[in-house]
Structure formats: C-alpha cells, structure tokens
C-alpha cells in the first residue's frame, strides 16, 4: 500500500509546479509526471497542465500520443477532458484542438481532438 506521506508529497510537488510561473515547470511536469507508470500521477499531472492554461502546457495534453486526452487509461483521458471543459477561458485550448485536427500526423490523435473540440463547442 502506498504511503500516505509519499502521496501527499507528490501531490504537493505537482500542485506547486502548477502554481510556479516559470515555463520550465511545464517541462518538469511533462518529463516526470506524464511519463509515470502510475495512473493517479499521470492524471494529476495532466489536470495540472490543463489548469495552467498556457499554450505549451495545453499542447502537451492535446497533441502528444499516450498523454492527456490520448492517454491509454480511460480515467486519465476523461479527467483531462473534464478539466478542459471546466476551463473559464477556452480560447487557447480550442485553437490548439483546431490545429491538431487539421495538421496532426496521427489519425487517432486527430479523432480525439475532433471529439473534444465538439464537446467544448457544446459546453
């Protein structure tokens, strides 16, 4: 069983990096958080990147195969989509989704982006 202290520390690091305005915080979250084998860590990291609501952070969870909305884990993908739908300002997210639908090389990523874009238009 996971130590409660460890869980809390990881959660605090991810939340701290979300609040950190430095662009390198996105790099840290992408490199360490989204590549973790633990679903809960990937989920927390994806949500933190969406809540940053920056071009680079949103690009990580929308355009990368196996991360964010394209994650193999349903719970991670759904949590990321839910976080995108909850955004107050969706302008940047919609722009990245449109670019992904038009220009991404992978068909699956394009389809996912199209679906999320349709959901965001309805919300």
């Amino acid at each position: 069983m996971t130590d409660r202290r460890t869980e809390k520390d990881v959660t605090n690091i991810i939340e701290g990096l979300r609040l950190n305005p430095d662009p390198r915080s996105i790099e840290l979250l992408e490199d360490v958080g989204t590549n973790s084998s633990i679903d809960a860590i990937r989920e927390m990291t994806s949500c933190a990147l969406v809540r940053k609501n920056l071009h680079d952070s949103l690009k990580v969870v929308i355009t990368n195969k196996g991360k964010g909305i394209n994650d193999m884990s349903t719970s991670v993908a759904m949590s990321t989509i839910n976080e995108l739908l909850a955004l107050q300002d969706k302008t940047e997210a919609v722009k990245i989704l449109e670019d992904t639908v038009q220009m991404h090389s992978d068909e699956e990523v394009r389809d996912n982006a199209r679906s999320v874009k349709a959901l965001m238009a309805l919300s």
């Binding site: 996971t2 409660r4 633990i38």
Partner: protein
C-alpha cells in the same frame, strides 16, 4: 255471587279453556270460542301452568329474570364474548408485534455489528494533525522556486523523480 278474590280472577284469566263455556259473549263471530276475544292475553298464556320455580335451574338466580331482561343479558354476554375475542386478538397481535420488533432490533444490531466489522475506522483529523506537524514538501515552497536557476531546477527534478519512484516502488 261472583267470586272477586284475586286467586279466583287469576283462575279465570289463566285457565280460559275451563271457563270458556261459562263466559257470556255478545259476539256474532262464529270463531269466538276459539279466539281470544274478550280475554286478557298475557305473555304467559302459552306457558305451562306448572310452577317452574321448583324445577332445578343451572342459571340459578338468572332463572327468575324476565324474558326481556334475558335478551339484554344475552346481548351483554355476547358483547363480553366479543370483547374477550378482541382482547385475545389484540393480545396475540401485540405479542406478534413485540416479536417482530425484537427480530428487527436483533437484525439491526447484527447488521450494525457486521458493518462495523467490515468498516475501517479512520481518524482523518489525527492524520492531518500529524502531517501538519511533520516536515514535508509544501506546494507553496515549490511554487516559489526559481526554476531558471539550473541548480534549483535539477534539485527540484530529483525531488520529484525520487517521490514518484517511491510511489511506484510501494505500488509494485
């Protein structure tokens, strides 16, 4: 001369068949002799002239009660019977409801006991208090780190990687 004493009058009134022929009537009715016209009918006309008081009666004193009163008494007895039946039914219903209540209480207690056995009791406030006292990583501290500084960036990355690895190892 006509005897007007009470026993004589009673004799004439109650033994009509004996005195019918001597009774003078001014009636043209051909059935006069077989009718009761001219005679006083009482409730005891069709009863035997034998004295019943001397006969043994299981009702005892009740035997002397008039027929009308007997009707009342029978009604009262019937009511008592009904009342008794109702009391009995209520009593049985009460016993059954007590049984049901006891069974329900028993079920609830055993259910509660089973729930308690399968429930993990956690005192979250104790854990939170412990966490607040023990030094740990604070998000406010991470949020203020200057990541443009390579040294700080490296240490933060190591800290994050180490904690994720710790979680991964404990989950495996």
């Amino acid at each position: 001369m006509t005897d007007l004493s009470i026993p004589a009058i009673r004799e004439r009134l109650f033994n009509t068949s004996k005195h019918e022929q001597t009774t003078s009537r001014n009636s043209s009715n051909p059935f006069a002799k077989t009718s009761f016209k001219g005679n006083v009918l009482t409730a005891d006309v069709f009863e035997s002239s034998k004295n019943k008081v001397s006969e043994p009666s299981f009702t005892g004193k009740l035997g002397a009660i008039p027929a009308k009163s007997k009707l009342y008494m029978s009604t009262i007895v019937g009511s008592i019977n009904n009342f008794g039946n109702r009391i009995s039914q209520k009593f049985h219903a009460g016993i059954e409801s007590i049984n049901n209540f006891c069974n329900r209480v028993s079920d609830s207690v055993s259910g509660m006991w089973n729930t308690l056995k399968t429930t993990e009791v956690k005192l979250d406030f104790v854990d939170n208090f412990k966490d607040a006292l023990t030094p740990g990583i604070r998000k406010s501290h991470i949020a203020k780190i200057d990541l443009s500084n390579d040294e700080l960036y490296k240490s933060t990355r190591e800290l994050f990687s180490g904690k994720v690895a710790e979680w991964t190892n404990s989950a495996a």
